[in-house]
């Protein structure tokens, strides 16, 4: 054992490798991406790593390896689990031989996702054991235990950290390589009564899973990661929590100077009922502090009803905890303060360590606590007024080729009735003003089919579907097939920057690189489109603006499904050109460059248009937009 400063996702990868990992596959998605990237970076050749084309492919690949006795891990974000849910639901019945951990990173907020879905709820739905770590150290330890549980019960298991665990860093104790487990897979052993899903097998498997649930629940009640932190104090209010919210709870109790018992739930499914029962018996009121779904709250409410317990369960369902978004130490402290004071006024004296005394001496604008600063008088009246703060919404980078692509389509389609369907990736940011070029965005690969659907109802509208290169391979090809065969009329625009940019530049089948370090034949997007029957496919560099505009005008007029590939590499990955320069003698201050493009590289400085040379990549787009050739 030694100590290292590791990111949560790196710790998870290291824990999996220490468990004798043989194969890891996944699809990039914030906040899960660094798990697979870390594994690939430190791979000594002892296991196989792949960025699969999507989460479904990754999970099926790992299933095959686990059937063969390999220890495998699959990585994805929570919405990726929706894509992988088809094989997952069946695999829950079939089971595995080698240990299989499905890492699904949840994103409370959401910070970088479409939904706030909770993988703990998915665990109950798919009836798969679920592990929910509350710190970086625990993530490292628990993923190793998850492999053991998986193999013991021959089932895939879910491991679901949230963003603050994935992207948090801590100095943690990790194993030395000599301490790693080595797993040598036996190989696939044919047995059609085991590996071929049929109704009869499914019925029998379902019975086994139902019998397993109470057994696992009993075992989890004794599992060291579940437990009561601080001894039960009969008559005192108590707390139940999980994940990063457990950490916030412990910090909040310290802040409040309170010593309340806390039930920590690390395995939300199967729920450790016996442990929870003993906890509930000792208390009259329990506050559940959770993010995403009220999983613990519902489970405790169920147990209280089942055993006729005289206990009140509070949390999201009672309005004590926010129904959406993240918790913080402050929000948790507020909830505990309100909960404990309301119910146990006799012990309120121990709660009186809040904001009021620290506030008076705080010279800051808002005091130390936002909720109390408004009401406390003396010190605040002396504090200066906070000036208006800059807003920094997410925008496409300076030099991003997507800006040029959107601008070219916008120019070409001026005056036409159009709908622009977007998709998932950096280019969703094309919705920001002044480009305003994303009318819809739903989920990976949806834009193509949505454009078809709008076209069915509004045949006089020119429908466009924008899709990135990685998303194209992940889940848009079937949409093109569907559109072509069913005689849709639309323009498919592939924004090909030759990488998966949003998640930090992972390779995909169009890049010619694999995570095992091989250089391979690229899969050609143009050839794929022609292969599925798209007759007009034109490739153009969007930064060659007038050519790009002409291409859009020409292609969009054709009937049926046609495609434009805008190909230009991600600006973050290529060496920038010298920055643009504005000739102050020529600039007439019309600000057209700013109003049309919204590029962070062009700013107003003391009323004059100027180039932010630290950001400008010299892409030249603004030069083509300037009406008086003042930019060179």
């Amino acid at each position: 054992m030694h100590t290292e400063f590791l990111m949560g996702n790196a710790a998870i990868a290291r824990g999996a490798i220490a468990s004798g990992l043989n194969l890891v596959a996944g699809y990039p998605g914030t906040p899960s991406t660094e798990v697979l990237e870390t594994a690939a970076k430190i791979n000594d050749g002892s296991f196989y790593v792949e960025w699969s084309v999507n989460e479904k492919a990754a999970l099926e690949l790992a299933a095959g390896a686990s059937y063969s006795g390999a220890r495998t891990m699959v990585t994805m974000k929570q919405v990726g689990l929706n894509v992988a849910s088809d094989p997952l639901m069946s695999l829950a019945y079939i089971g595995v031989k080698g240990g299989m951990v499905i890492l699904v990173a949840d994103d409370p907020g959401p910070i970088s996702s479409q939904t706030e879905q909770d993988t703990r709820t998915f665990a109950a739905y798919s009836k798969l054991p679920c592990f929910d770590p509350s710190s970086v150290q625990e993530a490292y330890d628990m993923i190793q235990e998850a492999f053991e549980w998986s193999e013991k019960y021959h089932t895939p298991v879910l491991f679901r950290p949230t963003t603050r665990i994935d992207h948090g860093y801590a100095s943690i104790a990790v194993k030395d390589p000599e301490e790693y487990i080595k797993n040598t897979p036996e190989g696939f052993v044919k047995d059609s009564s085991k590996w071929v899903i049929f109704p009869r097998l499914s019925n029998a498997a379902h019975r086994k899973i139902a019998a397993r649930e109470p057994e696992l629940s009993r075992e989890f009640s004794a599992y060291v990661r579940n437990g009561v932190v601080r001894l039960p104090r009969p008559g005192f209010p108590a707390i139940a929590s999980h994940g990063i919210s457990f950490a916030y709870t412990m910090d909040a109790l310290q802040l409040l100077g309170l010593d309340l018992p806390v039930l920590k739930i690390a395995t939300p499914y199967p729920f450790p009922e016996e442990l929870a029962l003993q906890f509930l018996k000792a208390h009259k009121e329990v506050l559940c502090i959770e993010e995403l779904d009220p999983v613990i709250e519902r489970a405790l409410t169920y147990i209280a009803g089942k055993y006729h317990l005289d206990v009140t369960i509070r949390g999201k369902l009672t309005g004590d905890i926010t129904p959406a978004g993240e918790n913080t130490v402050e929000s948790v402290a507020d909830a505990i303060r309100g909960f404990a004071a309301k119910r146990f006024s006799e012990s309120v004296d121990c709660l009186d360590t809040g904001a009021s005394d620290t506030d008076a001496e705080n010279p800051g604008p808002n005091g130390s606590r936002p909720e109390s600063s408004a009401s406390s008088s003396g010190s605040v009246s002396k504090a200066p007024e906070v000036p208006a703060l800059p807003i920094r919404p997410p925008v496409l980078c300076a030099g991003c080729p997507h800006r040029a692509s959107f601008y070219a389509v916008k120019q070409a389609m001026k005056g036409e009735k159009t709908v622009f369907c977007g998709d998932i990736g950096c280019y969703t940011l094309g919705n920001a003003m002044p480009l305003d070029m994303v009318d819809t965005c739903l989920c990976m690969g949806a834009g193509l089919n949505i454009a078809q659907g709008i076209g069915r109802i509004e045949p006089d509208t020119k429908c466009f579907a924008f899709v990135g290169d990685s998303t194209f391979f992940a889940s848009a090809i079937t949409g093109v097939v569907n559109a072509v065969y069913n005689q849709a009329d639309m323009t498919v625009v592939i924004l090909d920057n030759s990488t998966t940019a949003m998640t930090g530049h992972q390779p995909h089948p169009g890049t010619g690189r694999t995570m095992m370090g091989q250089i391979v034949d690229r899969i050609d997007i143009e050839a794929v489109l022609r292969g599925v029957g798209v007759k007009t496919v034109e490739t153009v560099n969007p930064l060659a603006l007038s050519e790009a505009v002409d291409t859009v005008k020409r292609v969009a007029l054709e009937p049926g499904v046609k495609a434009i590939i805008f190909r230009s590499p991600c600006a973050v990955l290529v060496k920038p050109n010298p920055p643009a320069a504005i000739d102050p003698g020529k600039c007439i201050g019309c600000k057209r460059c700013i109003r049309e493009l919204g590029c962070p590289g062009i700013v107003l400085s003391e009323g004059r248009v100027s180039i932010e040379s630290a950001l400008c990549t010299g892409c030249g787009l603004c030069r083509k937009v300037c009406p008086v050739q003042a930019i060179s």
Partner: protein, 190 residues
């Protein structure tokens, strides 16, 4: 007892490396450390915060408002935004060079960095203002900014490290071609 540090600024300013060097220096001195970065959807140009906690007994890296011992801000507007996190009597080290967001250019409502620093002067007792722009010009590289500010924070006494300790860790973590520049930058504020 914990030392809470909040580093803030705009994506692309070198905040993550600065945070990593503080953490690695703590590791070297066997001080437990945890950190968390909040980075929005945009790769560059968005607000970035890095929370660091040094010492025993902490559970979550993201500490509450009013508890930061040190606010190290790479941008004056971001310093004002995160000022509620500073504890009474805490130290703020702030770069005076403002970075205009794209929206300011679009709405023609650019904000003034000076207004921000004037406000900070009134609101913070232990304030160190650093002209990062002129420091980088004198040092010959815009990439020196993070080390200049880290050096100023060390100088203020708000971190439990010496410049020499951080310098050693820096050399173990960045390419040799940057050693000379970073060493000078760490010692720029005296």
């Amino acid at each position: 007892m914990n030392t809470n540090i909040l580093i803030t600024g705009v994506g692309g300013q070198g905040i993550v490396l600065c945070s990593k060097l503080i953490a690695q220096t703590a590791m070297k001195k066997s001080i437990p450390v945890m950190s968390a970065e909040t980075i929005g959807m945009a790769q560059k140009g968005g607000s970035v915060q890095s929370y660091l906690r040094l010492g025993e007994g902490a559970y979550a890296a993201m500490f509450p408002k009013g508890t930061a011992d040190l606010l190290l801000s790479f941008e004056p507007g971001e310093a004002v935004r995160m000022l509620p996190f500073l504890k009474p009597g805490g130290t703020a080290v702030v770069n005076t060079h403002a970075i205009m967001p794209t929206t300011a250019s679009l709405s023609e409502s650019a904000y003034s960095g000076q207004e921000m620093t004037e406000y900070l002067k009134k609101a913070v007792r232990n304030l160190v203002l650093v002209d990062g722009d002129s420091a980088c010009r004198k040092l010959g590289s815009p990439r020196a900014l993070n080390m200049v500010l880290l050096g100023a924070a060390l100088q203020s006494g708000a971190l439990p490290f010496t410049v020499e300790e951080v310098d050693g860790v820096m050399r173990a973590n960045v390419r040799e071609s940057f050693w000379e520049l970073n060493s000078q930058a760490l010692r720029y504020c005296k």
